[in-house]
């Protein structure tokens, strides 16, 4: 289980502060697939960053009783000037995993070929996500945090993602922030909606999507 307790987060804005998250109470249990919905700027990424421990909340706490991936998305987690291989090596080292196994999996899963030997800063956002996703699958987490991007790439690649994450690892939890309601309906069973800093949690993803569409 990963739980947020009375989470508040604000950022400096001019002379005051902008309160992005106000009293968030929320939990993800093993195996749950939770959609995180909200308009642009509603604080979805901010919430994911607090859960992932990338940033620390002003007050409140995040309780982690299972391992979670770093937030997988367009940016973060990589050193742009290093190659895909070097980043894989680095991640293998800090998570104490075997690089040779990770390397094989990443080569096979991402299909990035020779691009893996070029600096990550030259990657498209889709390529970055493939690499981040492959690495996080290779390391194995109990809960995957996914920010904005999922099921990128062509049909074949999407099928591979679905196989790896929903078939082989169906026991894992998932928190996905996305605007793509088709994908959300397809993969999530619960939903949460962020609006003006307040999080509303829905037991059924359909209710969350309805609430989102009424915004």
């Amino acid at each position: 289980m990963i739980a947020c307790e009375k989470l508040y987060k604000s950022y400096p804005m001019g002379h005051g502060r902008r309160h992005v998250l106000k009293n968030i109470n929320f939990a993800i249990h093993p195996g749950e697939k939770v959609a995180l919905l909200g308009r642009n700027g509603a604080g979805k990424s901010t919430l994911i960053k607090q859960i992932g421990g990338v940033e620390l909340p002003d007050s409140g706490r995040v309780i982690r009783k299972m391992t979670n991936s770093w937030p997988l998305g367009f940016n973060g987690g990589f050193q742009g000037s290093l190659t895909g291989y070097d980043n894989a090596r680095f991640i293998a080292r800090i998570y104490g995993a075997s690089y040779s196994e990770i390397k094989d999996f990443v080569e096979d899963f991402t299909e990035l070929g020779k691009s893996l030997a070029t600096p990550v800063k030259t990657y498209s956002s889709g390529m970055r996500f493939r690499l981040a996703f492959a690495l996080s699958l290779a390391i194995e987490f109990d809960c995957y945090l996914i920010d904005e991007v999922i099921l990128v790439g062509d049909q074949a690649f999407q099928q591979k993602c679905i196989d790896e994450l929903f078939v082989k690892r169906s026991d894992r939890a998932l928190l996905v922030a996305s605007h793509d309601m088709t994908t959300i309906r397809q993969i999530c069973n619960r939903g949460a909606l962020l609006n003006e800093g307040i999080l509303s949690v829905y037991q059924d993803v359909e209710d969350a999507v309805d609430a989102y569409e009424r915004l």
Binding site: V54, D58, G77, R93, G96
Partner: protein, 260 residues
């Protein structure tokens, strides 16, 4: 105990990974690769040494001028580059905050360790090379050289841990760091033996923990003839509280750090 050991293992893994990463990004894998870390202090010390040799003659305060310059300059360059490289390291490494096992203190520690290793390698290398040319004495006491390095580097580490978070809080810090490191030169103990200063001047410079470290190192190299002046306790009463202050500042900044 198990959790302490786990934490320790993770810490070692992270430091190791960060050091390898920093070495790769800074020096690459081309030609001599990471050996470049000792190139800068080496060149600095040797060039200044030979410059002094030609300006001041073969002796300075009764010891070989090149040995004197080298033993003073390498630690000083360590101090300066550490403090300067400490600026904005948290923002620069922000994307690594995505991995929860990495803490921001690790960035400062890794920078410091890399500089320390590089400069100590340069110190040993240059000592051996100069010795073969008869320009460097056989060290009087290796233990004191190491002890002096430790005193010197603890203070340096404390300053990085303070400069790094302060530079995130206020941009003025970045602008004044070069001036401060320049002003610190007389307080590094690099250009004199305290024993040869006027007593009032000696009293003033001995406020700096760096001077104690430098005197220990030089006692270890040149022996008692240089009349070394140092205290074992005093430098720690400055360095350790500063170290603690640095760690507290890091903690404060971590709370405020905004990661892209």
């Amino acid at each position: 105990m198990a959790s302490f050991r786990q934490g320790w293992n993770i810490q070692i893994r992270v430091i190791n990974a960060l050091m390898l990463r920093e070495l790769t990004t800074r020096f690459g894998r081309e030609n001599i690769g990471f050996l470049w870390i000792m190139a800068e202090p080496l060149l600095f010390a040797l060039l200044v040494g030979f410059l002094w040799r030609s300006l001041k003659g073969p002796l300075e305060f009764g010891v070989d001028v090149i040995a004197f310059a080298v033993t003073g300059y390498i630690p000083l360059v360590l101090f300066r580059s550490c403090v300067q490289r400490g600026v904005s390291i948290f923002t620069a490494n922000g994307s690594l905050m995505y991995h929860r096992q990495i803490s921001i203190v690790d960035f400062a520690l890794v920078r410091f360790l890399i500089e320390l290793i590089g400069h100590m390698m340069a110190y040993v290398f240059v000592g051996v090379v100069l010795y073969t040319f008869g320009l460097f004495p056989i060290p009087h006491d290796l233990g004191f050289i190491l002890l002096g390095w430790s005193y010197y580097s603890v203070f340096t580490l404390a300053l990085i841990l303070i400069v790094a978070p302060l530079s995130e809080l206020n941009e003025v810090i970045e602008k004044i760091i070069p001036v401060i490191t320049y002003i610190m030169i007389p307080f590094s103990g690099a250009f004199y033996f305290v024993g040869s200063l006027y007593p009032t001047a000696a009293e003033v410079v001995l406020f700096s923990p760096l001077v104690h470290g430098m005197e220990m190192m030089r006692y270890g190299v040149f022996g008692p003839a240089i009349d070394p002046q140092f205290d074992f306790l005093y430098p720690l009463t400055i360095s350790l509280p500063l170290l603690l202050l640095g760690l507290m500042l890091c903690r404060l900044v971590r709370r405020r750090l905004v990661v892209e």
